[in-house]
Symmetry: C2
Subunit: 480 residues, 2 copies
């Protein structure tokens, strides 16, 4: 490890091909995204990662509000008796909750669960405030952290505590609630594609993989660099199971008592893991421009020559009106800075030195493909946003091409098992709908169903596993 201007030189990270898991943890540490705490499975989320999360929040929160949702805050603790009201829900969550048993120096009469999700709390609240069809719909969301007691953990992907948003809505009719479920899934998918430059597969989860307490769970699934799937967002149609369990009734338009229909939906800090594993490379992070905390870093070259720092500062002030810009005027060498901002995945680097100033131009270097672009200083305000859009498109295209290239269609069992064994990626194959086949696929091919995509293809008439008539085409894969 060399020193440069008093700061450590960026250490090389493990190449992706050599050890993907190590590459991932190298990035989360060296790009200063997280630090490990002595609290197992919990993270110190550092400013750079939190700034990414804030940008995610900002875009999504505006979208939620645009579609009529309001933010609320529910308690962190759920009394055990409340959690137990909905049978499937408690069965699903009981094994992975944390229990508070003592408070204020005394043993509590009833144990309190640290929320793993807040359906039960929202239901208690609904039971107090929903009386008439005039009180519907309720369109709520909350930003908070939740706790799930995972045995093995990985930064952003699986942790004891994670940050998320959870939407919870209540509607007069099943149709309205189902429409909401789809609306929110589409908002997530559009966000992933248009903001994170990350293609996703939209579909419905199988019975085996759905949320504890849901009638239907829809998901978006993204393919990581190593071909594994990351479930990147879910939207649940909960039916009226919870509203029955919590006795939430309202007087309908026809003056009779009815149970409303419910949804819930969420995305988490997993999205940061997805960004790393979809776009990153062996030099570090590659951040999609629309979410990058810094979209462009100005690196002065020959900084101590007269006029250079002044010009760099002038550009900073000018460009801050259009972009999220940073100037690095520290005494580290330009080489150190180049490596540092590559590691941090800053989409564009603007180099400016004495010769550039003379010629009224600068060099803009793209992080994604390292292309160097000469730009006149007079045209920065128009050119830079256009270059950032190009970067976004290029990232999306690259990810989509990889996903397509690593998605295989199989119509016979041997081919399916062999592909699963030899080729990382997704396999599309027909399925009879029987859970036994899903389990055999898990045992024999090591794959789980990712989802039943909304865009169905007819690959064959029969189930890949048992040969009986097929009901759906399913995406199969290994998942984080």
């Amino acid at each position: 490890m060399a020193q440069d201007g008093g700061k450590k030189l960026v250490e090389a990270i493990t190449p992706m091909e050599e050890d993907f898991a190590k590459w991932y943890t190298d990035i989360v540490k060296k790009a200063e995204l997280v630090d490990y705490s002595s609290m197992r499975g919990c993270l110190f989320i550092r400013p750079y990662a939190y700034a990414i999360w804030e940008n995610i929040q900002k875009v999504l929160d505006a979208k939620f509000k645009e579609t009529g949702h309001e933010n609320v805050y529910m308690p962190l603790f759920i009394p055990e008796s409340l959690l137990q009201k909905e049978k499937d829900h408690i069965e699903g969550f009981a094994p992975e909750v944390a229990w508070v048993t003592h408070g204020g120096g005394e043993k509590l009469e009833e144990r309190l669960c640290v929320r793993p999700t807040s359906e039960t709390l929202f239901c208690e609240h609904y039971s107090h405030i929903v009386h008439s069809y005039r009180d519907l719909p309720k369109l709520y969301n909350q930003w908070c952290s939740v706790v799930r007691w995972e045995k093995t953990t990985r930064p952003f992907l699986r942790s004891l505590e994670f940050l998320w948003q959870e939407g919870h809505t209540l509607h007069e009719t099943e149709a309205e609630a189902r429409e909401e479920t789809t609306r929110m899934l589409n908002i997530y998918a559009d966000f992933c594609e248009q903001v994170l430059a990350m293609p996703v597969v939209k579909g419905r989860k199988t019975e085996k993989e759905k949320f504890a307490g849901a009638v239907d769970t829809c998901s978006i699934e993204a393919m990581m660099h190593d071909g594994k799937a990351l479930q990147s967002g879910t939207s649940h149609y909960l039916g009226d199971g919870f509203t029955h369990a919590f006795d939430i009734q309202y007087t309908g338009r026809d003056n009779t008592l009815k149970y409303p229909f419910q949804t819930s939906w969420g995305v988490t800090t997993r999205l940061i893991g997805a960004i790393i594993m979809v776009h990153g490379d062996d030099s570090g992070l590659v951040l999609p421009p629309r979410i990058a905390p810094t979209q462009l870093v100005i690196v002065p070259v020959a900084m101590h020559k007269p006029g250079v720092l002044e010009k760099a500062n002038e550009l900073l002030v000018r460009l801050q009106k259009t972009l999220r810009v940073k100037l690095d005027a520290s005494d580290n060498s330009p080489g150190w800075k180049f490596a540092e901002y590559e590691m941090k995945g800053v989409p564009l680097r603007l180099e400016i030195g004495p010769r550039d100033i003379e010629q009224n131009r600068c060099v803009v270097v793209r992080r994604d493909d390292r292309q160097k672009i000469e730009v006149s200083l007079d045209e920065l305000e128009t050119r830079l946003p256009a270059i950032l859009d190009d970067v976004h498109e290029a990232l999306y295209k690259k990810a989509l091409e990889r996903q397509n290239a690593m998605t295989y269609a199989c119509t016979d069992w041997d081919g399916f098992v062999r592909t699963a064994d030899e080729k990382p990626g997704f396999i599309k194959a027909m399925w009879c709908g029987d859970q036994a086949c899903e389990e055999k696929i898990k045992t024999d091919a090591g794959l789980t169903s990712r989802n039943i995509p909304f865009e169905q293809e007819h690959l064959s008439d029969t189930c890949i596993c048992c040969g009986k008539p097929a009901k759906h085409m399913v995406y199969w894969g290994k998942a984080y």
Copy 2:
């Protein structure tokens, strides 16, 4: 309870004079700020209250970032051994923490405290990342919820769980850290005065009242309608006690190892309680315009006459560019709407009916003093922001006048005790600095020291209690 257009008429609330505590809880329920959960001392924070909190967050967060602070997120749980590292800190907090003892179906080897505050977590993180003077200062903040096991609770004022922000910073020198402590207290005070229209007294807490683990605690104290004090924000100079306890050392400019100096500072959802109790009246909430989720509500009169709803809608679209506006086009009567938005404390109501439209004007009614102002429809964009500024100034002035009128200066013990007994409010009196006198004042007069104001006055030479030479003038009062 009468019905109007299918909705309940707003019920009257308990008058402030009759029962201040009941007046307060009536408002929090009837203005739909909170709903009580079956989890004792925890609240469902409803959309209207959460929107106030979001506005508070937005203004403060921008201010924190402007002054160089970065947001991070630390774990919810603190292992018991970590919490115990700083002796004063654990002594102060141990009686009021909640303990997680079981997770994932198993008894934990070490109990985990649900964070009551995060100094210990920040310190662990600092110990990993601070090595050189080049790594300083660290200027961090986090928005989260914390848990303190209170025996008696009141919405926003004292609850088991509350939302807050906690700033945590680390500096090379004591002077820098003390400067930061003052800077952040000033940001809080300016925020209260310029945004919440709430005068505050800035000062230093006595030894007895300071934060567990702090060298000095500074606070801002606001006077509620009933004369009681609400500590509305604190900023702590922590010295190097924690950095010694956590062995946080850095190599200084002189190449020797040193311990850095630390601060922490926070405000909470208590501020919502303060807004209610400083500005509210017997018709409900009165929201300061700069924080009100809705600054102006448009109420169409004779809504079903031709052109009225169209004009109301046109105004909505127009005014949304300048203000946070809402149009209530529901089938409730104007009278119901007037009462509803008075209860909700919306600063301005704009009434528009057929005659107004004919005359190209409308009537704007101020919530604070019920003044009716005729405004030409052509002048809304300029007049409304000016009226909102007037409302802000009037609210601040009224609160300051009340605070001044209810602040007494005492120079003899009998007068002090009699004033404490007879007059709600603050008492200014001299103090020798001895904790015994502070305790006697608590026992005999029922008052605690609020703070030692930065703006000192010399009322007399001797302590109000013991007659020995006085060191400071102190604000004394009853507190929430």
